[in-house]
Subunit: 425 residues, 2 copies
């Protein structure tokens, strides 16, 4: 259960890549029942080996404390019985999702009698690089198995024992379902060179890299990866209060969007308020935020209205606080709100609070972010909340996957063309 | 109408990039009618300026002949009245395709009352790097306009005058529809440094690169591009004759797949024949190919049966001839055929000739190529033949686009979430 001392990282990673290819081949042609069995067995193993997982986690926690690691990090690292229940529940939910592989996405007939089907196929091998959150091990492993992809997991060194114990349970499931161990592999070294090898794609083996962690990890992966990456660097999320906004929705939705959890990527960072509702809406919204402990950084109009507001600088419109701070700006029109968002947004999630349907449609059409929300909290930007059963991450790129990345987004497609002797003229 | 002498390629390309972004923004919110008007007007202009286009092409042809350029290249470069008719027809067909932008791909309700829609959006800016085929200018320009993307076209230097004359007609269409010139730009220099700048993405401006041309161009683009690429390096296409194959279909389909046009990517390069039908099927198929002038390179069994067959070496199974040559191998089973294809294929297109439905399903399920064909010619691997109205290329990668790349594949998507005050618990 300890990280292996490896001298030749290149050889180790190359072997992992070869095993992953065999795993991917087996998973691509595995039956839906086989994959479901693997996952339900894994869920059972997670329950049966609960004590072993908690012991492994205790080792990680002790080592982290010895290193003097801080509160929030420790909190993410810690496993409890309740958290293991959550992990098991997630694996079971994923097991019971419809199997995406082989699904006919669309089909049509050609005038010459050819019948064409577009069907889902797995992507192949997914590389997941994550920081010390043991639950990512189970979520990513289960989503990849369900979508028919082999996965190479490279977790943070501080969660190594916890991740190993969880992967062992996934391997129990694969074994019982007759699937090879190459389907789910945890990189058995915490050497950073292993990450470098993964970013190069292991000789064409890795089809997609998914980084899960802080901005510095995502930035490194985005700049160094030679294979496609599903990720978001930041969630600079906006809430726009239109002149037609219902006051109560404006207050409650903004409060939830900002303060439910301030550290997640769907949390609001900037509030834009139409000038026509400054007198009626701005104060109650901002006062509700202040009452919950949120710091306000506003433009001149906001500062004039709200005694506690600090001045917002240009940098504030560009900042994802991930904290109980919000920047607030008055805009003269819907168009000005759209222009501000298109200029500053990270294209993750934006919300409009409005009763005017035309304003909503304009906002929905003209803003190019992965998720646009009308009269609801931006914190719904989540695979589980979308009904995907889980997510391996949220993507803000435009290629292939966008928004929450669930099992469907982990697939590609191929065409099946059925004929009866057609020749091309 | 001459290529500009440019000293600062970096500054030129940066300016083109900025114009493209403005063009992309305008096209993203253009109405379907506006884009259709642009394309139908462009088709009219292509017809009206036919003489000017032919004159420009005559300049290109003359320069190419002076350089001593060869037959096939000259043939691709040449425009005739009939070829201009084809270009106009393609632009009209694309104009009348359903507009993909804003189409709801899927929608569903969540238990909390949120209604989620997944809708198509343009990708943004497409960079097309192509060799001297003037028709690519019109096809790529029209497909990008229809799908709401700005396009930066960098054509081969030998077709510069022809491409310029065609782009002028597209600009007429954009002008009449009230769309900015940044929507379609032809790089006004044939300096190769411009290609290098495009491959780097013009500072995050280019969302996808599409190379259209020979292997060396595609290989350069795939290895140097820092943005996603839609392409296929080669089409090492297989036809497998199952033991259940109908003899007549086996003969006619193989002949069409190999010999209709030998230089296109959907042309067959390797024929695999099940050992149980060697006695009945192999000879008639191969004799039909020989009668049409095809060279046969076979394994020992093929050489024993066919006097004219040359020996196939290991290299033959890896070679896309793009010529009237085919490699032929006898396989002992369907499984052996699948294993050969998975080992040697470029994952473009493969066909099975069979009457046994179970064999077809196994072939369709287990082979991971973009297009799988049953009892029909592999030369149907084409956007037009698929009913896409046209194609900007064919992709063999698994990310985003696969197979023929038409207007739908030139789009991304975003989520629209409609609520009435929902807060996340």
């Amino acid at each position: 259960m300890s990280a292996v001392e490896v001298t030749d990282i290149g050889a180790l990673m190359s072997e992992i890549g070869q095993k992953a290819r065999l795993g991917a081949r087996a998973l691509a042609i595995a039956s839906p029942e086989q994959k479901r069995t693997a996952l339900l067995t894994a869920a059972g193993a997670l329950n049966a080996h609960r004590k072993k997982i908690l012991q492994a986690n205790a080792l990680d926690m002790e080592a982290a404390r010895t290193k003097g690691i801080s509160g929030a990090f420790l909190d993410r690292l810690e496993l409890t019985d309740k958290r293991i229940d959550g992990i098991i529940e997630a694996v079971r939910t994923i097991a019971d999702l419809p199997d995406p592989v082989g699904t006919v996405i669309s089909e049509w007939d050609r005038p010459n009698g050819l019948h064409i089907e577009r069907v889902r196929t797995p992507l192949g091998v997914i590389g997941v690089i994550f920081e010390s959150r043991p639950n990512v091990t189970a979520d990513a492993g289960a989503l990849c198995i369900k979508s028919g992809n082999a996965v190479i997991l490279r977790g943070g060194s501080d969660s190594f024992h916890s991740s190993t114990a969880i992967v062992d349970c996934l391997l129990d499931g694969l074994h019982l379902a007759g699937l090879p161990v190459g389907c789910v592999q945890l990189v058995p070294t915490t050497d950073r060179e292993a990450v470098g090898e993964m970013l190069k794609g292991l000789g064409g083996t890795i089809d997609v890299i998914v980084p899960r962690g802080g901005k510095s990890l995502v930035a490194r992966v985005q700049s160094e990866a030679r294979v496609p990456v599903f990720a978001h660097l930041e969630g600079l999320v906006h809430v726009y209060i239109d002149r037609s906004a219902d006051l109560e929705k404006a207050v409650t939705v903004t409060l939830n969007a900002k303060m439910r959890r301030t550290g997640i990527c769907g949390a609001a960072e900037t509030l834009l308020v139409h000038q026509d509702v400054v007198a009626t809406h701005l104060k109650p919204i901002v006062e509700a935020l202040i009452a919950k402990g949120c710091e306000i950084r506003g433009d001149a109009q906001v500062q004039a209205l709200i005694a506690d507001a600090k001045p917002a600088t240009e940098q504030d419109w560009r900042t994802e606080y991930e904290d109980a701070i919000i920047s607030v700006k008055v805009v003269e029109s819907l168009e000005a709100a759209i222009a501000h968002i298109e200029h500053y947004s990270s294209h993750h999630t934006e919300a409009i609070i409005a009763e005017d349907a035309a304003a909503v449609e304009k906002f929905f059409n003209e803003i190019d972010s992965a998720i646009l929300v009308h009269n609801a909290s931006t914190q719904f930007a989540d695979g589980g909340e979308f009904g995907f059963g889980g997510e391996i991450g949220i993507a803000t790129g435009k290629m292939h996957a966008r928004g929450p990345v669930g099992v469907e987004q982990l697939t590609s497609f191929k065409y099946r063309v059925r004929g009866n002797g057609q020749l091309r003229p």
